[in-house]
Subunit: 317 residues, 2 copies
């Protein structure tokens, strides 16, 4: 089923694309067949991560960026990733509002990804959904994360170009400092730049950038672009900054390096999960319960229990 869906999705069939993403989200054997079929077509899209605290206007900014790139004839997919509880429903709501401005366009695709119970699960599912969109032929895939916690940072940093969104006057300090996202930014956007205090925010960011280390990641100094996403002001400048960063990566052989590192991390994550699954399959339920009981009774520490479980299985095979 996966192989057929891949062909259809690549031919522009939106329903097949949606089903394919649902399929890979599940992360089961079927998902892996589909991913194997589409993997040869990946590696062409520009993956753009957009992150920032709630209230910075990220969603509107992403919509505006998508509209801008569409106006230049480029195809754009947006993955809105929400690691927060399904209780908030934010991603779904935001998705619906945006569908109104972008939904009718066949060169644009929007999809929300909600929390899957664990960080690792969401990270894996997002990475696999990006592969689907990449293989489907989108020029640009935007991964937008709700919030600016460590989880969002870990997801956003898997992109080629990371946009960090700030706004003037959200408390005394730049939000990004607390969230530890200054280091991963390739482009800063100070959104809602028609608000009071914008100069102060820009100055703080500049200071921060120069305090940071003296030299920037990959020899690239992150530009600071002031936008008003509600009116579209400087959206073209923000988009151009993101594209310049991608060119910088390509011209300095950094794209290949980043991709290689990303693939390596992903591969290790998959091996970790797969090994544990195989271990648990081979452990007798009785033995599993016994080890757990011994730990709960403080007779055995978790490291020693892990060692015992692994040794049993390695003898088996």
């Amino acid at each position: 089923m996966g192989v057929e869906l891949v062909a259809k999705a690549r031919a522009g069939n939106r329903r097949a694309l949606a089903r394919l993403i649902t399929l890979v989200e599940a992360g089961d054997a079927q998902a892996q067949t589909a991913l194997a079929a589409l993997y040869p077509y990946t590696g062409h899209a520009h993956i753009v991560g957009v992150t920032g605290a709630p209230g910075t206007g990220k969603s509107t900014l992403v919509t505006q960026l998508a509209l801008h790139w569409r106006s230049l004839g480029r195809t754009v997919a947006v993955l809105a990733v929400d690691p927060t509880s399904p209780f908030s429903g934010g991603a779904i709501l935001g998705d619906r509002i945006r569908m109104q401005s972008l939904g009718g366009d066949s060169g644009c695709y929007i999809r929300s990804m909600a929390s899957r119970g664990s960080l690792g699960g969401l990270s894996r599912a997002t990475g696999d959904a990006v592969k689907v969109l990449d293989a489907a032929g989108f020029d640009i895939v935007i991964v937008e994360t709700v919030g600016a916690g460590q989880a969002e940072v870990e997801i956003a940093r898997e992109a080629h170009s990371v946009v960090v969104v700030e706004v003037p006057g959200m408390g005394d300090d730049i939000q990004a400092i607390k969230a530890g996202i200054l280091e991963i930014a390739d482009v800063f956007v100070v959104n809602k730049a028609d608000r009071e205090g914008v100069e102060r925010t820009v100055r703080q960011l500049q200071m921060m950038l120069h305090l940071g280390s003296g030299e920037h990641r990959d020899g690239w100094e992150p530009p600071i672009v002031q936008t008003v996403s509600n009116t579209g002001k400087n959206i073209a400048e923000a988009a151009a900054a993101v594209e310049r960063h991608f060119e910088h990566l390509k011209n300095n052989n950094l794209l290949e390096l980043r991709e290689r590192e990303r693939i390596e991390r992903e591969w290790k994550m998959i091996m970790r999960e797969s090994l544990l699954r195989q271990l648990l399959q081979r452990l007798e339920p009785q033995q599993y319960e016994q080890l757990l009981n011994h730990m709960a009774e403080r007779q055995l520490d978790p490291y020693a229990a892990a060692k015992q479980a692994i040794e049993t299985v390695l003898e088996l095979s």
Copy 2:
């Protein structure tokens, strides 16, 4: 070395305690020997998680809670966990300020834990540091997380009782909704309750609690306590609410259940990491590079590469 340190730390030697935490933070073979030695002494402390957005006054609240419990003759350890970049240095600064009010007391111990590069690493190190403090005989171990992202939530939820701190007027909405921490709260503290808008915040929380599901986790309805941590107002009430929650867990056999689930998660995490380490040790560097090259060239997808790597190693053993 670990065994000696454990004996000394349990006898009240603060320097041994500090060295022991540093030792287990490293997560190496020595750390495991130490943890095996101290594990039999764990399982007695009440682990209290405190989380909430930056600016809610968490640190002052935690200091006040610690002073209150000390005044009742209970020993208290505080782990201040900061998953943000070392760039901010917040944990270290906060630590120093608090040492002034609590530092001279032998029944109290404060320690900061900074980011260890990855979520998994910090989570693991925090869990192991809690074991040290538990084994050292502290009655209450407070795990305070900076920020309210998913990472902080995952760390805080490993506690027996989770305190979520809010303040009036931080934007239109309760911060906890965005961060997905409403569900894990056992006690809500609305701090800075002398500020305008406190009634609105309390009302929003109440509404949220009743909207949530109708029934609460473990049959416990999270109380909402209004405090002013700067003046100490209602600190005793907040502490009492936390203690009532612990009694509730004990009286309903829920403590054992929570502990068992926590141990199971921890055990799996350790097995996952250990299995990957053993796999990578057995893979020939040549083969590792070859698989990575094939993935980078899109000839092989990461799931297939993981399967190949694992099959090679399982044949070996």
